[in-house]
Amino acid sequence: MADPVLAEMVHATGATESRHYAAVKPTIQAYRASWVKLAPYRDGPVNSQRVTVNDPAAMTAQIKAKAAELGANMVGVCRLQPHMIDLGSEVSHEFVIACCVAEDYEKVLQGPDAVEEEAMRTYAKCTEIATELAGYVRDMGYPAMAHHNGASEVQAIPIFYQVGFGELGRHGSLINETYGASFRPGFVTTDLPLIEDQPREFGVQDFCMNCNVCQRNCPGDAIPQDHVITHGIKRWLIDLEKCYPYSRLRDEYCHLCVDACPYIVKSYPETYKAFMKGRKQVGYKTPKTY
């Protein structure tokens, strides 16, 4: 287990593996196998006939159109900065292309298994998109590497923030005004000349200061009231010791903090209302099927 906190907690129960990961349905296993299968193809030979890029803005538009064609709901570009790279890893590329695939929020009404399956489906789709897009860039004569659930050296949240997908919310995930926090990432790092997008702020951090819906719905009380500051950005640091008993040490998937986030209400008003009615009936902090 790569996560030392999870490893300690799992070993304390006398087990050798996270109960959640051990109790995997065949569909989930198939999705996980798909990104493992694609991991060897995240890098590859670069075409020796390099396409000349005279207009980086036009190239950026071409890349975004290609990613959308492959199935991405949002695509953004930024310069790859040191804080976006996993500590101890090296990625020498100049740019990162961020793609995301939105989850179908309707699944929240079908229970945790459906939510988990949808999460894995979107991760698998992001893996396909990143792999295909990296190959597309290499075919133009520029190095490119895909980063996804199968293998990655980059950090999703700082990149998503920098490309303007959204702002960091109290529950620790990035919030977009259309998709809430219900989307998953895939990335391509490259030296292809591109034009950067810019961070966008639309009031999420101020909203989260006064909204405690995710906190109220967290069965483990893992979401704090107060925040810390990292390079000027508010961060509510989730207490993993309290989160993992619900999200990793049980069979059932826990995604309640994101599912209850009100930023999804504009896109799914009726579903959100029905979901939150159900949450109220079980007293908010109770897991879906505890």
Binding site: P4, V5, E8, P82, L87, G88, Q215, C218, G220, D221, A222, I223, P224, Q225, D226, H227, V228, I229, T230, H231, R235, L237, D239, L240, E241, K242
Partner: protein
Amino acid sequence: MEKLYVNEILPDGEVSTVGLFYSRAEAEKIVAMLRDIPERSACRYEIVHAVRHLLAEKGAPGAQTAPKE
């Protein structure tokens, strides 16, 4: 579990929290890795006990600070 923040102190004195860590060994490992990054060579680092009101604990009275690095 022990809960520790790693803080990065920028040359202008601004304090930026790197993250929440669950053992001193893990926190020290992160600090060592950060110190190896040339762009961060002017920064200082401290490891402090997690301030209870920043954790999800109700009625927590306040902070305890560990000796600085």
